[in-house]
C-alpha cells in the first residue's frame, strides 16, 4: 500500500509544471488503456461512481468527444455543459460556475475556455480535479500528451527526436504544451512560421526558430502542423491564405525534397490546402488518425491517474478491479 503515487497533483492544468517522470508515467499508463478501445465491449469499471463534468465554454467537437469516450469507457457518469458567450459574460459565468460545481460535489471537471488561465482559475477555487482541455493560448496538455504518445509509438523514443512545430505558434496552446512536454522529455524542438505568428521571446522557451519551412523540413524528424485559423488573415498576420500555403504549407514535394521519412502530425481540424496539403494528410507520412486514437487512451490515463490510480496497476485495473 505504500507504493509511491504518481504525484500529478490535484489537477492537470499544463505540462509546464510537470516533470519528465510524471509525463512518462502518463504516457506509460496510456499504453494498457489503448487496448480497451479495440474490444467489442469498450468499457471497464475503473471510474464507476465518479461524476465528471465536461465544461466547454468554447466550441469543440473532437476534444470533447474524445474526453467523453475516455470517461464513458472508464464507466464514469458524465455531464456536458456547452456555453459560449461574450468575453465579459464568460468571466462572470466562470466564477459562478465554479461555485455551483463545488456545491454539487462533482469529482472532476474537464474545462475548455477561451481565456488563458481559466483552467488554473477554476482549479484554485474548487476541490475537484480539474483537467485543462485548452485555455486560450496557454496550454492544451492532453493534446501534447497524445502527440508525444504518437511520436513515441512511431519512433520508439522521444529523447533526441527533432520536432518542428509549424504555423501559428503565437495563438497556439497546442504549441506551448508541446514545447514544454517535448523539451522535458529530451526532444529537440523547433518552431517555424511567419514572424508575425511567433510570440515574443519564444527562443527563451528552449526552441530554435526556422524562418523558412524548407530549412525546418531539412532539420526535423517530425513536423507538427498547426491549424491556421482563418481569422488570422483578417487580423493581418498573413496577407493571404494562398501565400501562406505557398510559403509555409506542407506539401508532398517539400517532404520528398527532404529525402527522409518524416512523420507528420496535425492536431486538427485541418484546413486542407492551407497549412497542409491533402496528399500529405492522407499520405504515408501522416499519423493524424493515430493521434485521434491515442487521444482517447491518453485521456483515460489522465483521468485514471488523477482519480488516484497507480501507473503500475493500470493493466490490472482495466481487467475489472477498481482503481
Amino acid at each position: 500500500m505504500t507504493a509511491p503515487r504518481l504525484a500529478l497533483g490535484k489537477d492537470l492544468v499544463g505540462l509546464e509544471t510537470l516533470d519528465a517522470a510524471q509525463i512518462r508515467s502518463i504516457l506509460d499508463t496510456a499504453e494498457p488503456f489503448k487496448e480497451i478501445s479495440e474490444r467489442a465491449i469498450k468499457k471497464v469499471p475503473v471510474l464507476r461512481g465518479k461524476t465528471i463534468v465536461n465544461l466547454f465554454f468554447e466550441a469543440s467537437t473532437r476534444t470533447r468527444i474524445s474526453f467523453e469516450f475516455a470517461e464513458k469507457r472508464l464507466s464514469a457518469d458524465t455531464v456536458n455543459i456547452q456555453s459560449t458567450g461574450s468575453s465579459v459574460s464568460k468571466g462572470e459565468t466562470l466564477v459562478d460556475t465554479a461555485r455551483n460545481l463545488e456545491a454539487m460535489r462533482i469529482d472532476m471537471v474537464v474545462i475548455r475556455h477561451g481565456s488563458s488561465g481559466a483552467a488554473s482559475f477554476l482549479a484554485e477555487r474548487i476541490p475537484s480535479n480539474v483537467i485543462n482541455a485548452g485555455d486560450g493560448r496557454h496550454e492544451h496538455p492532453t493534446q501534447a500528451l497524445l502527440d508525444m504518445l504518437t511520436i513515441r509509438d512511431a519512433l520508439g523514443r522521444l529523447e533526441g527526436v527533432k520536432v518542428c512545430i509549424v504555423g501559428d505558434v503565437l495563438h497556439s496552446r497546442v504549441a506551448r504544451s508541446n514545447i514544454w512536454g517535448l523539451t522535458k522529455m529530451g526532444a529537440e524542438v523547433a518552431v517555424c512560421g511567419p514572424r508575425t505568428l511567433m510570440p515574443a521571446g519564444i527562443e527563451d522557451m528552449g526552441v530554435r526558430v526556422f524562418p523558412r519551412v524548407e530549412e525546418a523540413i531539412e532539420w526535423a524528424d517530425v513536423l507538427n502542423v498547426l491549424r491556421l485559423q482563418l481569422e488570422r488573415m483578417q487580423g493581418g498576420y498573413v496577407p493571404t491564405l494562398r501565400e501562406y500555403n505557398r510559403v509555409f504549407g506542407i506539401s508532398n514535394e517539400r517532404l520528398i525534397a527532404a529525402g527522409r521519412n518524416l512523420l507528420v502530425l496535425h492536431p486538427g481540424p485541418m484546413n486542407r490546402g492551407v497549412e497542409i496539403d491533402s496528399d500529405v494528410a492522407d499520405g504515408e507520412h501522416s499519423v493524424i488518425l493515430k493521434q485521434v486514437t491515442n487521444g482517447v487512451a491518453v485521456r483515460m490515463a489522465v483521468l485514471y491517474l488523477l482519480a488516484g490510480g497507480e501507473p503500475e496497476k493500470a493493466e490490472a485495473a482495466k481487467g475489472g478491479a477498481h482503481a
Binding site: 509546464e16 468575453s87 465579459v88 464568460k90 468571466g91 462572470e92 466562470l94 466564477v95 475556455h113 481565456s115 488563458s116 488561465g117 481559466a118 488554473s120 482559475f121 485555455d135 486560450g136 493560448r137 496557454h138 496550454e139 496552446r173 506551448r176 510570440p199 515574443a200 521571446g201 519564444i202 527563451d204 522557451m205
Partner: protein, 428 residues
Amino acid sequence: MRSLLIRGGRVIDPASNLDAVADVLLSDGRVEAVGDGFGTPDDADVVDAGGLVVCPGLVDVHVHLREPGGEHKETIASGTLAAVAGGFTTVCAMPNTDPPIDDPAAVGFVRAEGLRAARARVHPVGAISVGLGGERLTEFGEMVDAGAVAVTDDGRPVSDAGLMRLALEYARTFDIPVAAHCEVLALSRQGAMNEGIVSTRLGLTGIPNAAEDVMIARDLLLAELTGGRLHIQHVSTRNGVEMIRRAKDAGIRVTAEATPHHLTLTEDAVDRYRTDAKMNPPLRAAEDRDAVRQGLADGTLDCIATDHAPHHYDEKEQAFDDAPFGIVGLETALGLILTHVVDAGILSLPRALERLTIGPARALGLDAGTLRRGAPADVTVFDPSAEWSVEPKRFRSRSRNTPFAGWPLRGRARITIVGGAAVWDERA
C-alpha cells in the same frame, strides 16, 4: 482658527532646500513659520513630532476616484480618506468616470464633492475630448474656470495626432498642461500584459514597449511644435524615459510621472495570472523598471503618481483577459517609496519627497508641495521607521486590488494636515 505647532520633527521641505530639526507653525490655514526659537502662541495646539519627519503634504496628480458612476469601486469621500491615510493632502481626479468629467458642471461636481468630504484637496482634471471620444475638444476654458487644473483622456490615448496638436495649442491659452496616456492602440492590440517571455508562457496578448514609446515620441514632437505643456503619465519604458530626458535637454516643456508599481515590480508579478498585477501600461521588464528608477533619480521624471485605480473584487475575480486594468495605490505609495526607493539607495529621502511634493505640484501648476511661509498649511507627518505590512482589508479605499498584499514596509503617515487641520491622525 486655532494655530497648530508641530514641534521637534525632522522638517524636510525640498522646495526650500530645508532639511533640519525644526518647528512648524501653522495658522489661518497657512504656513506661518518654520524654524526654532519661536514660542508657543497661546491659542496653538501642539503636536510633538520628535523622531518623525515633517514634510509638505504629499501630492498625487493621478488618481481615479470613480465618482460619478463607479461608486461601487470608490467615491470621492472614500478615495480622499484613503489619500489622507496614505499621507496625501492633494489629489488630482481623472475624468474617465461615467459620465466623464468633460464639462464645467461635471468639474464643479467633483470639486464640490471634494470640499464636502473635507479630507484631501481634490483638483479635477477635465477630459480633452467630449465624452473621451477622441474627436472634439471639450471647453477647456469653462472647465478651468470651474476648477480644472489640467486636461487628459487618461485611460485611453488621443489617437488622432491632429486633435492632440489642437489640445496642446488650445491649452496654452489657459496655461494648463495636457496629460497624456501614451499608447498606440494598433500596437497594444487589446493586450493584457507586457509583451515578452512571460506573456508568451502564459499565452496572454502582449503590449510591446513600442506601443508606449511611439506615442511618447509623437507627443514630444507635438509639444515641440506647439510649445504646449505636455505631462506624460505613468512612464514605464526605458526608451520612454530616454526620450523625455532628451526632450527636456532640448527645452521642450514636458513633465512626467513614475508610479510606485513601475518602480518596484516587473512583469514577473503577473505570474499565475494575478489580476492584481494587471495594469496599463503594464509592468515591464527589469531593465525598464531600472530605467524608470534612474529617470526618477536624475529628475527626468518629475513626480511619483500612484495611478490609484480602484476596482471591485468581483471585477478582478475573473480570467485575466476579462479583468480590468489598475491597482489601488494611495495607501501603499509612501511606504513603498520609503522602503524600495529610499532605503534601497535609489533616491535620498529629500529627493524622494521632492518627487512626492513640489515635483508634482509644479508639474500641474498647483499651489501646494512646500512649507514656505504663506503656503497652504498642508503637512504630512510620518514615521520613517514604522514597520508594517500591507493588509488590504484595512484599506480606507473601497477597493482592495493591490499586488502588494503582505509586503513588509517601513515608514507610514501618522498625521495628515490639510489647511491647518489634522484630517488624519493615526495616533488617535
